[in-house]
């Protein structure tokens, strides 16, 4: 009967699944993937302690920063398919705000870096409402412009030390119990930020909001027609993708003991993050992690080898070109096309 069908349809239209927050959490806890993230984070965090190896800590610290940058950038490039070339501006600006609050105002380090993250996200949201009206290449160019404008501004901004930047004295580490324990503290926090980045990528991918973002990536006009509030969603994902990199920036520069404009707003690092994503596989959660670790290893090897140290840039460029031309899905895309069972375990 047509009338009963239409009633069914009407019922189905108004039906809303009553899922409590606990159900929602349980749905994820049953999945293997979030646990993999937790285990991975714990292993990275504890490895240098167990092995009692400071140089391992330094290289893992850099890797954690790379993973944080790559996986948050992946929210834009892989999910929403908006090419953000100036993503390093989050890292640099968050670093400046965090370090400035922690040194000049003697605010607690954790609060300072969180404040950096909140400020950067708020700025990104406001800014995103403006520049995210641009599509494709226009947006990519605008992000470069934003990074360069802020770079030039900070270079001239005297309270932040202008072109010379901010140097931390040894006293800055006193609240953390001296420089040694301060470094370990920063390391644990950075690894935590890395783990949170991965969980964030997972949470967004499995949420309704994430579905909207992925739809924008597939076809923005179609998504808008189907009721995805595209301008708001784009601004939100832009703001979210800025938060954890900004926090990581604060921790990283606090740990380094110096922050200066050329190091904080380096476009090359921005592009390196894109290389990591491409290497691992854009749009996946595991891909940027694999890419970041591989790139960190490769970079270290090229920098320290006798024959290749001059040609580091050349080889990295050639690698990128080969990926772009022949393996656009990255390592993970390539693997998953051959081994479909990997999809459940490596999302």
């Amino acid at each position: 009967m047509p009338s009963s069908i239409s009633q069914d349809v009407a019922k189905a239209g108004t039906f809303k699944p009553q899922r409590s927050f606990a159900d929602e959490i349980y749905r994820h806890v049953r999945e293997p993937f979030p646990w993999l993230i937790v285990i991975f984070t714990a292993v990275v965090g504890l490895a240098p302690v167990v092995m009692d190896d400071v140089s391992l800590r330094e290289s893992l610290l850099l890797a954690a920063v790379y993973v944080t940058l790559a996986s948050n950038l992946n929210l834009m490039i892989g999910y929403a398919e908006y090419v953000n070339f100036g993503n390093i501006v989050f890292f640099g600006l968050g670093g400046y705000i965090g370090v400035y609050l922690a040194t000049s105002w003697h605010v607690n380090l954790v609060l300072s870096v969180l404040a950096g993250g909140v400020c950067v996200s708020a700025l990104a949201y406001l800014f995103g409402r403006g520049i995210l009206g641009l599509r494709g290449a226009f947006f990519a160019l605008a992000t470069i412009g934003v990074n360069e404008a802020i770079h030039a501004f900070v270079t001239n901004f005297e309270p932040w030390g202008g072109a010379t930047g901010i140097y931390l004295s040894m006293d800055a580490y006193e609240p953390l119990g001296g420089p040694m324990s301060g470094l370990w503290f920063c390391y644990y926090l950075l690894v935590l930020v890395m783990g949170l980045s991965l969980l964030l990528s997972y949470a967004i991918k499995t949420s309704k909001f994430g579905l909207g973002i992925l739809a924008i990536g597939q076809n923005e006009d179609a998504a808008a027609v189907l009721g995805v509030p595209t301008p708001r969603y784009k601004a939100i994902i832009y703001a979210i993708s800025g938060f954890l990199p900004a926090v990581a920036g604060g921790l990283y520069f606090f740990k380094s003991g110096i922050i200066e404009p050329n190091g904080a707003f380096d476009l090359t690092t921005s592009i390196e993050a894109i290389v990591m994503i491409m290497l691992g596989g854009a749009g996946t959660i595991t891909g940027p992690v694999i890419g970041a670790f591989l790139y960190e290893e490769l970079r270290g090897f090229l920098l320290f080898s006798e024959t290749f140290s001059h040609l580091q840039l050349v080889l990295a460029g050639a690698l990128l070109l080969i990926i772009v031309l022949f393996v656009p899905g990255g390592l993970l895309g390539w693997l998953r096309a051959r081994l479909p069972w990997l999809r459940k375990w490596l999302q």
Binding site: I77, E81, V83, F85, G130, I131, G133, L134, G136, A137, F138, A140, L141, A142, I144, G145, V146, E148, A149, H151, A152, F153, T155, N156, A163, L267, I271, I274, V275, M278, A282, H310, L311, Q312, L313, V314, L315, A316, G317, A318, L319, L320, L321, V324, L325, P328
Partner: protein, 286 residues
Amino acid sequence: MIGILASVVDGVLVGAVYGLAAMGLTLIWGVMNVINLSHGAIIVLGMFVVYFLTGATGVSAYVGIPVVVVVGFVAGIIIYWMSVNRVIGRPILMSLLATFSLNMIIIGLATAAWTTSPYNVPVSLPGITVQNYTFTGTHIMAAIIAGAIAGILYLFLHYTRPGKAIRAVASNRDAAELNGIPTRQVLAMAFGLGVALACVSGALIATLFPFTVLSGGAYQLKSFVVTVLGGLGNPAGALLGGIALGMVEGLATPFTPVSWTPIIEFGLFVLTLIAFPRGIFAFTKA
């Protein structure tokens, strides 16, 4: 007052060279929707070609310009077949990364060969003095050459068969192919032409300022600003955009410290992108 005027005029002269660089970028964008991120590296290539040419043969830098055009054109064709050909029509990220990877390769090789120490091309030309302000001869000459090349490009695009083919492919590639135009070769030629323009602008910049292997980045960013001011894909707009940028720089110099110029430039850039995504000088139909 005359000081400000002189500064603006000098800015316009240098701006014409920026415009030439941006024409290369915008031509490639207009024809194949590819933003050439190896643009800066190409500009540096032009600088070094003219440096070694004048060093080896002792001829004036201006005599070397045709050689630079040929080198640039050939380099452009090679780059096209190496990296651009496969990414045309694919997502914008792919073409950005493909050209950027070439940028890394070229800069890496150039750094290994020539280090990052500064070079300069010695050119002596008499300047023109008005009251107590002197307009440098090299600036005037560079602007004249830039203008002439822009004129030649215009004539080429509008009155020759290959030029018309380029415009046909830019306007509708499928229709051009159906009409018997070998579009792939035309794209390669357009890319070569764009790269040649960037090379020549590099050669001209080398006669104005000292340069290093890494100078390209700054001029690439300036080219983006100019391109956006003039409207992406619009060569005539690019020249006007370049002159406008030069004027802004010239106008800002007497009032603000030099280090503030980039803030003004990039502020203008982002505002233009948001307010006039088609460019301020986009009077041709888009």
